[in-house]
């Protein structure tokens, strides 16, 4: 009989402690989850920035976006050239790493670039680096450089 009571008291104590802990975690704001989940997910795509940029010879135009996840992302750049004051090469960089120049001409007004890495170094910096701040720059070379207006969409795809 005593053993039964002892077991019942033990179970009740454990249950009470558990319930109290749950209540404590739930009602203490700094112990709770942030409810933020920026994971994109495999095969999914999310738009991070979009707009228009006027590219002028010798100047660097840039777009910044925040990526607050640790998942290595695939960068997708959709560029639609709106006007050509001068056809030519446009240097695109992501976080100061060159994605090789592209030739902008009326024959190819839409360019889609899918930027991936097999080296281990990532194109898109995660939260641990620069607090997730990323920068894509567009630069027209002084010679044979593209000058004009383009609209861009910066999308990221999940890889895990």
């Amino acid at each position: 009989m005593k053993l039964k009571k002892l077991i019942a008291a033990e179970i009740t104590t454990v249950a009470l402690v558990f319930i109290l802990l749950v209540i404590l975690v739930d009602f203490t704001s700094y112990l709770g989850s942030s409810n933020q989940n920026d994971r994109i997910g495999l095969y999914a795509e999310k738009e991070y920035a979009a707009g228009n940029i006027t590219v002028v010879s010798g100047e660097i135009a840039f777009v910044r976006f925040n990526y607050s996840s640790y998942e290595p992302a695939i960068l997708v750049l959709e560029l639609t050239f709106q006007s050509w004051e001068s056809t030519g090469y446009l240097d695109i960089r992501c976080n100061n790493r060159a994605i090789r120049p592209i030739f902008a001409s009326p024959e190819n007004p839409i360019i889609r670039l899918n930027v991936v890495s097999t080296s281990g170094a990532e194109w898109v910096e995660p939260l641990s680096s620069m607090f997730g701040l990323n920068e894509v720059t567009f630069e027209s070379g002084l010679e044979n450089g593209f000058i004009g207006l383009l609209s861009y969409k910066i999308k990221l795809r999940g890889s895990r």
Partner: protein, 400 residues
């Protein structure tokens, strides 16, 4: 004799209907065992057949470089010697390697577009776009999984940061058809020169050499192949692989993987047999009176065993059929979730992948055998024990 069997069969069918719980327990447990076996076997056979098909256009011999017991790059200077070997029709260079994007392992293959023995366009059917042009550099054809992963489509540019942290940019010219997706879903195909730059492989070296032998009578094929393989083996630091070796390696891989499932399946089957045995013993105890009555009415011990045999046969066939149909449905319609990841061994598979399935008569017969034979043993022994008891004693003990 015929009507006697019909009567016994009718009685067996009545027993199946009367002992509903036992029937249900046996069918469910055996169906699960049959389902696991059938699903994995159909998938394994499908994968092996895909392997055979993929080797249809493969070179007769693949020559790899070896260094300190490990595979290494091979010197292209060997081509001169190999081409001079009697029985050799052509030698092709190939550069290939792996690249990781996230969790997905991709295969990057560079082929010699100008000196290809087999027309690459026939080996690699496309779902959209066009095949690589030998006159153009920096263009690729990608597999369906690569397209799904990167979001690249025909006409878009794929910029890849290589192992040496160099950026290479390729125009996507085409996407491989899903028909042959198992072998090219994760592939990025490019020209040999592009692959050389991508991996930073020096001139004069390639990943492997593909050797095609002269077309001869089938009877002499193996003799010629062995002769050429032996001659090439004389070269220093090389390893020669035949189609058979590649196929056996695939079979061994899938066989080993399905072996893990076989262990799980065997456990389920043993459990199912124990459940069936237990149910028969319990029901057998309940039906002791019935057995006693049957014997008092003139049924012999063999008649009672026959009834149980017919019962077991019907239940086994039914469970086997349910298992086989479920296995086919699971593999073909649902795409064999969980099992397929394990069998294929890819880090990540894309959702729309259809698993190759082959339904052979051999697997179907084995599935029926594994459901019927253990059930016969599990049910006949208890029924024989019941049937050998004196009818009077059986009825009295059942009443007690």
């Amino acid at each position: 004799m015929k009507s006697r069997f019909r009567n016994l069969a009718n009685y067996a069918l009545n027993c199946i209907q009367r002992y509903k719980v036992r029937t249900l327990v046996i069918i469910v447990s055996l169906s699960i065992a049959a389902f696991i076996f059938a699903s994995v076997s159909f998938m394994k056979e499908g994968l092996v057949r895909e392997g055979e098909l993929s080797l249809k256009y493969a070179a007769d011999l693949t020559v790899q470089g070896m260094f300190a017991g490990r595979q290494s790059l091979i010197n292209t200077s060997h081509i001169y010697y190999i081409q001079k070997t009697l029985g050799v029709k052509a030698v092709e260079e190939r550069i290939w390697g792996y690249g990781n994007i996230g969790n997905t392992l991709l295969v990057i293959v560079g082929i010699d577009l100008n000196n290809s023995v087999v027309n690459p366009a026939s080996v690699y059917p496309l779902v959209s776009g066009s095949f690589l042009d030998s006159q153009e550099n920096n263009s690729v054809v990608i597999g369906k999984a690569v397209a799904d992963l990167t979001g690249a489509e025909v006409g878009s540019w794929l910029a890849i940061l290589t192992e040496s942290n160099q950026v290479r940019q390729y125009e996507v010219r085409g996407v491989f058809s899903a028909e042959s997706s198992i072998y090219n879903a994760d592939m990025i195909l490019m020209s040999e020169n592009d692959a050389r730059l991508f991996f930073g492989i020096p001139e004069g070296k390639v990943t492997d050499l593909l050797v095609y032998t002269e077309d001869v009578n089938e009877a002499y094929y193996v003799t010629q192949l062995n002769f050429v393989a032996r001659e090439i083996s004389e070269l220093p630091n090389v390893r020669v692989l035949t189609k058979d070796i590649l196929l056996k390696a695939q079979e061994t891989t899938y066989g080993a993987r399905s072996g893990f499932f076989s262990v799980a399946w065997f456990t389920v089957l043993v459990s199912a047999a124990i459940v069936a045995f237990n149910q028969t013993v319990v029901v057998g105890h309940e039906s002791k009176f019935e057995v006693g009555l049957l014997k008092a009415l003139g049924f012999s011990t063999s008649d009672i065993i026959q009834i149980r045999l017919i019962e077991s046969g019907i239940l086994g066939i039914l469970a086997g059929s349910i298992g086989i149909v479920s296995g086919i449905f699971f593999d073909t319609v649902l795409g064999a979730p969980v099992f397929r990841d394990f069998m294929l061994g890819w880090a990540v598979l894309y959702p729309a992948f259809s698993v190759p399935v082959r339904i052979s008569a051999q697997t179907v017969l084995i599935t029926y055998a594994i459901t019927i034979v253990p059930l016969l043993f599990a049910t006949v022994v208890p029924s024989w024990l019941n049937a050998t008891v004196d009818p009077d004693l059986a009825m009295r003990s059942a009443r007690a």
